[in-house]
Subunit: 422 residues, 2 copies
């Protein structure tokens, strides 16, 4: 008997038929003797429906009063789906109660539409669990210190589930979703992609941030911070499959580097075509140059991902970085009009038709030659590398976006990811 | 400058276009210098949509845990519509904030799906009004002492609006609805029916309880208890009509028997075909007989409306009462099996094909011969009266339901209700 948190996404909650299946699955876990807490998303489409109504009434604005109302509005989606799940569980014969974020309470800061969880009061939930109830807690939302409803941003239900699991010291947090785990890469690009039985927290963090959309990155950070064992698994298996089998399915995001951990050097290939690159050529190589360039970009609220500065030549250097493609035009304008003039850069050039491909693996820490194997595999396909960036457990390259699928397939094969690890 | 409460029903909130019109109307009042509090219902159809989902998941049950979830579910409808209205008001350039019942807080007892308001904290609302904001408060809902969401039952938004107006000592509570006021009777039955400019609180209470569906009866009771001036008016007039004209439109439910009050003897004709009558014939006329009969009925949770007991004859009497038509079969069974046997009544008979027609008027207090004029008008149409019940300001008769429209038209004419009062 353990305390287990289940999280179900919008697709899993998408109809009364599906909600009933969720209830039957949760009932199975409850009847096996587990204390169950369930964090559902809104029924699929509901959040978009509500926000579309808001958009019909007013153009998006940056002010707090407007964002407060968006949160007050959007939070109703999870409150409704949670109550429906409680009703479905009661129909299965289980005692059940649903709580909105403010009822728990899940306290957040006041950053409407992208709030951060500050604390979770576990008293009420523990009392209900002790009384034999299945407790349902709305995902995606909380309440600030002044009693205003807040939401955590898209995908925030994952974060809610992990935070609840951390507060309750749950044995495991199971994220039921429409994929059956974390793969070595996107199976739509590489049909031979293989599901990973376990992945380390750090690898998952790199995968999530690099564009594998299985889990919201903040939920992974949260799980890492509080060491919550996290499992991603399919909500589309029949609800009545054997519990032991289900409990081992999907991908476990593990914090223990135990013996059973897969010992591959590279665990997966991530990719992302949401970025654009910008280069300032012939910048004077003086102290503080990077902060002058990036400070101006940050002030314009543009997020920067990869940053490259190579050794200088005759007192001049080239400085490159990548931004989200949506910010590309604005960043180029900014740099041309302000920064380049002030810094005396020779030229500002940019390219939005790029992609980033990364190899990720905790095994890279203790293996040499991994990066050069990557570069060789790309070169054998005739793919030119435009930028390189490395960290302890990943190596990323920027290449022409037209080569993205080719590069991913080549790397997947080069690192034998289609084969189970020895 | 005054503090004014507006209440808008589901039809008035039924689309973003209509919500925008509500916002423009409220903005007009705000710009005229009034402090505005708005209580909206859920968008029309939304509450039914949510409850239908619940019904798909579980059959209706009598237990508290189930009703708690129904309230948690249904309350989302008003939270969403309130946030949308706040957004629409902001788009009109007004500062605005929306609150769910728990945020105000509107405290209720724990009778889920039919909770009663116990108190309203006005501090937060007053602070917002003082800061120049339009405050929107969800209708229909509150929160109990343990932080569970409650709803007030169908039509509860009227009650919310009146309760908020009472708590804030508002100058007037305007109920915008899809009819343009209170009529002498239903215009669908009597095309000559006339809108009343004012109606007394007591008359309105009788009208509401007798089947005129303009206002929820509890909201009228609440208004009476706290002496909140209440106005029923149309939400379908153009939002930009002159404010002074709008402020005098509809029907004012007044608590002051002032000079301007219409001096008609009878103000309106109410009717209702939701009832059925039951008679116990030949009941021994001993003390406590009525309480024995009605006690058993009440224990079965069946509400009784009219009760008639005539003088006894040879130690036996006949005892009649009416119940809601939905409870008719159950009441008959109960009386046959239990009560009649125990009481030694000769026979239990019932009839569901009846209707109740009432004349209502505060002027009846000081006028004699009103009832006999009613009976004469019915007799002239050959309508047989089955039961009669009177109170200070109304006289009700039970007749065969096939005569309902005929009776209402005859009475409307007999009391000159198609003519404005002298």
């Amino acid at each position: 008997m353990a305390l287990i948190v289940h999280k179900y996404g919008g697709t899993s909650m998408g109809s009364t038929e599906r909600i009933r299946n969720v209830a039957k699955r949760v009932a199975k876990w409850s009847r096996a003797g587990h204390q169950m807490v369930v964090v559902p998303s809104a029924m699929s489409g509901e959040t978009n429906r509500l926000l579309a109504l808001a958009k019909e009434l007013a153009p998006a604005k940056a002010d707090d009063a407007y964002h407060r109302e968006l949160d007050q509005l959007a939070a109703t989606g999870e409150q409704a789906s949670s109550a429906l799940l409680a009703i479905a569980l009661q129909a299965e014969g289980l005692a059940s109660v649903s709580y909105a974020g403010w009822q728990v309470a899940i306290k957040t800061n006041s950053a409407y539409t992208k709030a951060r969880i500050e604390s979770i009061d576990d008293a009420r939930v523990r009392a209900d669990l002790a009384a034999g109830k299945v407790v349902i807690i709305t995902g995606f939302q909380g309440v600030d210190g002044q009693g205003h409803v807040t939401t955590l941003g898209r995908g925030g239900s994952d974060t809610s589930a992990v935070a609840v699991a951390a507060a309750l010291k749950a044995q495991e947090c199971l994220i039921y979703t429409d994929v059956d785990g974390v793969y070595t890469t996107d199976p739509r690009v590489v049909p031979e992609a293989r599901r990973l039985k376990t992945v380390s927290f750090e690898e998952m963090l790199e995968m999530a941030s690099l564009g594998s959309k299985v889990l919201q990155i903040r939920s992974v950070e949260f799980a890492g911070k509080y060491r919550v064992p996290l499992r991603v698994l399919s909500s589309f298996t029949p609800w009545d499959i054997d519990l032991q089998e289900e409990a081992k399915s999907g991908t476990l995001i593990s914090f223990e580097e135990d013996e059973n951990m897969e010992q591959a050097v590279v665990s997966g290939i991530a990719f992302n075509r949401d970025e654009a690159k910008i280069s300032l050529l012939g910048v004077p190589d003086t102290p503080g140059i990077a902060s002058q360039i990036l400070g101006a970009v940050a002030q314009a609220n543009i997020e920067v991902d990869m940053i490259i500065q190579n050794v200088s030549h005759e007192g001049k250097t080239d400085f490159s970085f990548t931004v989200h493609r949506n910010d590309f035009a604005r960043a180029i304008d900014l740099l041309k009009s302000v920064v380049a003039a002030k810094l005396g850069a020779r030229e500002v050039i940019g390219d939005a038709k790029i992609c980033k491909v990364s190899i990720v693996g905790i095994g890279m820490r203790s293996h040499v030659g991994v990066a050069s194997k990557m570069f060789r595999a790309l070169s054998e396909e005739g793919i030119n590398i435009q930028m390189i960036s490395t960290s302890e457990i990943k190596t990323s390259v920027v290449i022409d976006e037209k080569y993205m699928e080719l590069a991913v397939r080549a790397l997947h094969k080069a690192f034998d990811l289609d084969q189970p690890p020895a």
